[in-house]
């Protein structure tokens, strides 16, 4: 398994993920894209601010890819995440997996995004017109 981990303030490029995932043996490729949405409950979101514990986040993303490859036979795994200020409609995360068949590619991709949200040291603040909050900080 080869993986490509990317964490920076630069805009993410879905085409780069597709190019990376392609191998002659890969019959199924699944790419998940997260997008900044314009509301939280009934409040209008102006922008998101992402912060990461950069060195640890990259290490944890590499570890996550390795754990995923033990569970499913992945050819390639891409985990790209942005930091900094993002506007509504921009892409903070792209996860991609290529496998021989689609079934394991779907399962692996779902595992990667779900586990990323639970364990990678990245934080997002939602900014509203009249304030802000750190997402999921409180019960």
């Amino acid at each position: 398994m080869e993986c490509q981990i990317y964490l920076s303030e630069q805009p993410l490029d879905g085409n780069e993920v597709f190019r990376f995932l392609q191998t002659p043996a890969s019959g199924g490729m699944v790419v998940f894209t997260g997008t900044v949405r314009d509301h939280f409950e009934n409040k209008k979101v102006i922008r998101l601010e992402f912060e990461a514990y950069q060195a640890m986040a990259v290490k944890e993303m590499e570890r996550l890819a390795a754990i995923c490859a033990e569970k499913w036979p992945c050819h390639r795994i891409a985990i790209h995440h942005r930091t900094g200020v993002l506007q509504v409609g921009e892409i903070p995360v792209i996860i991609g997996v290529s496998c021989t068949h689609r079934r394991e590619a779907f399962a692996a991709c779902q595992f990667l995004i779900d586990t990323l949200k639970e364990s990678i040291p990245i934080w997002k603040k939602e900014v509203f017109q009249d304030g802000s909050h750190w997402v999921s900080a409180h019960p």
């Binding site: 040291p121 934080w123 999921s136 900080a137 409180h138």
Partner: protein, 88 residues
């Protein structure tokens, strides 16, 4: 009794996300007894900054890896408070 036991270690702690807001800084220094565990540090921190009690959880990382409560802290460890994460 060894004189060493009376000494304290000055440790540097990194803070991110809401932890940074609670501490009003991205780095703080604290004094702990030699041999202190992560659970001891957590206790002191929660006592001094009760706002941490309101969070879903508070985890710690040492040298860029998650650690358990019984991990013993060394002087030159890079310690970070990891409040509830929310990437993606």
């Amino acid at each position: 009794m060894k004189t060493q036991s009376a000494e304290k270690l000055a440790i540097r702690i990194l803070a991110f996300g809401i932890a940074k807001d609670i501490l009003e800084d991205n780095v703080i220094w604290m004094e702990i007894k030699p041999g202190s565990k992560v659970s001891d540090l957590k206790e002191v921190l929660l006592e001094e900054f009760p706002d941490f009690e309101k969070l879903r959880y508070v985890r710690f990382a040492i040298n860029e890896s998650y650690v358990d409560d019984d991990h013993v802290i060394s002087q030159d460890d890079e310690i970070a408070i990891i409040p509830p994460v929310s990437g993606g």
